[in-house]
């Protein structure tokens, strides 16, 4: 697929991917700002800012974004991650200027009306409370808090409730002005358009925007973990849960391709971004065989969190009724130990590579998924991050998978959260 890349004078990187036989257009803007750029006391501010950017400003009144996209039959949304924040609209390609105008206004002219900031406080708290209803969220929040003591991955993008209750408009608005600038963003267009014409429209919409001084690079890095960390949550819930996280390097690291195959051998592959996977449940992997087929767990998954900074590889299991947490943990230990001891056989490696290959195609399903994949790549390094990674995965040998298991799946560098479900809550 042809992709045209250009950077405007104000620093905005533009990635255009024309798809001749589609009438749809997906417009994405990714900002290099996430919860990793927050400080204690203002956790959740990046996500709150994201909410505020649907409320107008500049040429857009309150409710205008909603109306403009709705009339076109379009879809829109935004996502706040630890490392980046993304906004998108998918609309008929003939309405490109509408999307460009919205994103251009959003970049520098959001209103942050004090009344609207206050109204949104309860909405973001409600979003957090909805997540708190799920034991899996509590386990995940505990795990990241346990594994990171210094780095802002300690908290999740939704932030802590006490911060959401006390944050004021001014720091939120400063956060916005600091990070929402053309030289801290990439604009991605995927769909039915002529690249030369599209580029002209992009220039008209975005060239007038002034850049900001580039944000300071994050100087915090997590010190090496000295010894296993454990936490036991005893709370009402339907099933015991176990989550184990090992420190892994950043997404750009040379070991990432081998870790992808390690994750796949261990727990199956569902693509670089989970949105495309739907409810697909991989079954041809070691942990499914060892835990689900053997009736010790009803569900198990492996998440390789690919991030800007060193992150986690997480194994999560939902335990079958009556099975002790110790037993499931022991089985996971045994499977990890096998990987550290012997390289996976040729069939297993080829099956893992085939899954990664196929998912690279499934994630190209339509303009929205392509836009999301390119944007996530830009958030982490570059628009073609996924393609380059796939090429590197093809070259990984079985021994390398064993080696990265030995390097990273180390007991002293792991954190373990066990959720003990209390009975009689329903």
């Amino acid at each position: 697929m042809s992709t045209h890349v250009e950077t405007l004078e104000n620093g905005l990187k533009v990635v255009l991917r024309p798809i001749p036989d589609t009438k749809a257009l997906s417009t994405w803007v990714v900002y290099r700002i996430g919860s990793r750029n927050e400080v204690p006391g203002m956790t959740g501010s990046t996500h709150w800012v994201e909410h505020m950017l649907f409320k107008g400003g500049g040429k857009l009144g309150k409710g205008d974004i909603d109306k403009l996209i709705s009339r076109l039959g379009g879809k829109m949304n935004a996502f706040t991650d630890t490392d980046y924040t993304m906004y998108f609209e998918t609309i008929p390609a003939s309405a490109m200027d509408t999307a460009l105008m919205i994103e251009s206004e959003r970049m520098r002219n959001a209103a942050f009306d004090p009344k609207e900031v206050e109204a949104e406080r309860t909405v973001v708290i409600s979003e957090r409370e909805g997540a708190e209803n799920q034991p899996e969220f509590l386990v995940d929040e505990e795990l990241w808090g346990l594994a990171f003591h210094v780095h802002p991955y300690h908290w999740t993008p939704i932030g802590y409730k006490q911060d959401l209750a006390s944050l004021d408009r001014e720091p939120l608005y400063r956060h916005y002005l600091r990070y929402y600038a053309p030289n801290n963003a990439s604009l991605i267009l995927v769909g039915g358009f002529d690249p030369a014409v599209a580029m002209q429209h992009v220039r008209e919409a975005f060239s007038p925007l002034k850049p900001e001084a580039p944000p300071e690079p994050l100087r915090l890095s997590e010190p090496e973990q000295r010894g296993e960390r454990r936490s036991d949550l005893v709370r009402p819930g339907p099933a015991d849960l176990l989550s184990i996280g090992w420190h892994i390097p950043s997404a750009a690291h040379d070991d990432t391709p081998a870790l992808i195959l390690l994750s796949t051998v261990l727990g199956g592959w569902r693509g670089l971004i989970s949105f495309a996977s739907g409810d697909w449940r991989p079954r041809s992997n070691r942990l499914y065989r060892a835990l689900v087929e053997s009736k010790l767990a009803t569900d198990v998954g492996v998440r390789q969190e690919m991030k800007l900074d060193p992150s986690l590889l997480i194994v999560s299991a939902t335990l079958a009724r009556g099975v002790p947490l110790d037993r499931v943990e022991h089985v996971i230990d045994r499977e990890v130990d096998k990987l550290r001891g012997t390289p996976p056989n040729r069939t297993e490696v080829e099956r893992a590579k085939q899954q990664v290959r196929s998912w690279a195609r499934y994630e190209q399903d339509g303009v929205t998924f392509q836009g999301m994949l390119i944007s996530a790549g830009e958030g982490l390094s570059s628009w073609d991050f996924g393609d380059k990674l796939l090429a590197k995965v093809e070259k990984v040998r079985a021994e390398r998978i064993r080696d990265v298991a030995r390097t990273y799946l180390v007991d002293e560098h792991r954190s373990v959260v066990r959720f003990h479900a209390q009975e009689g809550t329903n």
């Binding site: 409600s126 689900v292 079958a320």
Partner: protein, 412 residues
């Protein structure tokens, strides 16, 4: 249509570098009669082993070619969907046909799935949204109607279902009669004939025929509170009977539903509850129109301290439909949205396959997408207002609140 009665629809989208498919057989909850839970249990075992291959071997074959295949039980049908590449299509369809025609329901897998079902029931029982939504469906479709009962059948049934029950159900209901398979993406005529039609034709036609789905019994509005003191947020579910997919009111009601609780950030409802009052992260409506009937529903997740305020606001919005019905500009925006969404909602292989499947399943005709814009344009404004007044009423609705609410009863 193939010789054995199965219907195959394909649409070529060569710019998408893979194939997506979606299919169904009328072997869902409605086909199980009094044997509650059998359809769901059996559907979960279709990848658990065939006469030729054990479960692990099936998984190795599928994932070895990078394909996906999943089965889902629904109120009306056994659904299946998957993805594969052009090169692996023939093998994927062979596996699909093998799973449909030769499942062995091995006892070891039955025991495993029984445990999974019981865990799923416990997880759903701990989920405020699931609890409220299931109870609402039970109220709107009473007397164990297939649309209202838990497809899993409840814990007691899950414990009692035996292998023989599933074998009998499968033999009676799973075959090519009523089977629809929609395929899109990187396919052409030759591939469809050799890679899909040929293996699909091997399904034997010896099932009992398509079961009729009875019309839902009359709905008597009810209220319920489900205390879940350990939760942070409460879920409100409100709803009532609506129409079937082929009912004359369907398109007007679909537009009314869009305006009331879907368009943009959840229509009139979202504007009030989320945007103006900040009471909820989500507050939206849904219209579920099926073969023999339908339901409209409203869902909102709110802090327990705001429950009364939220229910009062929902009541006010429902009443407003009677006193301040949709304005001409609202209806115009809604029509524009529905017509424009044709392009946007069909941008993915999987979405096209799903739409083609629906067109065949509900007998809408293969020219439905060409006709759709005119159907929407021709809707009369007053008709849209009338159906919203008729169906979206507070007094005609049931309401369930699940969450940290004590035993307080909430009125609408």
């Amino acid at each position: 249509m193939l010789g054995n009665g199965a219907v195959l629809i394909s649409y070529s989208l060569p710019s998408n570098p893979f194939v997506a498919f979606r299919g169904s057989i009328p072997a869902g909850v409605a086909a199980e009669g009094d044997a509650h839970g059998v359809a769901e249990f059996a559907s979960r075992l279709l990848l658990s082993g065939t006469r030729r291959h054990e479960a692990a071997k099936l998984a190795d074959r599928l994932e070895g070619i990078g394909a996906t295949l999943e089965f889902h039980n629904g109120e009306e049908v056994l659904g299946f969907n998957g993805r594969c590449t052009r090169d692996s299509l023939r093998e994927t369809v062979r596996i699909l046909v093998e799973c449909l025609s030769e499942p062995t329901f091995p006892q070891r897998e039955i025991d495993r799935v029984r445990g999974e079902l019981l865990n799923d029931l416990r997880i759903e029982a701990d989920d405020t949204h699931s609890r409220a939504a299931h109870e609402l469906a039970r109220f709107v479709f009473p007397n164990d109607h297939p649309y209202g009962r838990d497809p899993k059948g409840g814990a007691d049934r899950v414990r009692r279902i035996r292998r023989r029950d599933m074998v009998d159900f499968h033999e009676s209901h799973v075959g090519p009669e009523g089977l629809i398979l929609a395929v899109t993406g990187d396919v052409d005529r030759d591939l469809v004939e050799k890679g899909i039609a040929e293996p699909l034709s091997r399904l034997d036609a010896d099932a009992e025929g398509i079961p009729a789905i009875p019309p839902p019994p009359p709905h008597k509005p009810r209220r319920a509170t489900i205390p879940m003191p350990h939760k942070s947020q409460a879920d409100i579910a409100i709803g009532g009977p609506a129409v079937s997919r082929r009912h004359a009111d369907y398109y007007a009601l679909n537009l009314a539903n869009l305006l009331f609780g879907r368009i943009g950030l959840y229509g009139r409802l979202g504007r009030n509850l989320r945007d103006e009052q900040g009471l909820a992260y989500y507050a939206f409506t849904g219209l579920d129109a099926r073969t023999a009937g339908g339901m409209w529903s409203l869902s909102a997740g709110v802090n327990p301290a705001n429950l009364e305020k939220a229910t009062r606001s929902i009541r006010a919005e429902l009443d407003r439909l009677q006193t301040d019905p949709f304005h001409a500009d609202e209806i115009r925006d809604g029509k524009d949205n529905q017509i424009g969404s044709l392009i946007v909602s069909l941008e993915r292989n999987a979405e096209v396959a799903s739409e083609l499947h629906q067109m065949e399943y509900y007998g809408l005709g293969m020219n439905f997408l060409e006709r759709y814009a005119d159907i929407v344009r021709e809707l009369e404004e007053d008709r849209v207002r009338q159906v919203s007044m008729k169906y979206f009423t507070a007094d005609g609705s049931s309401m369930v609140v699940a969450g940290p609410v004590g035993r307080t009863r909430f009125s609408l």
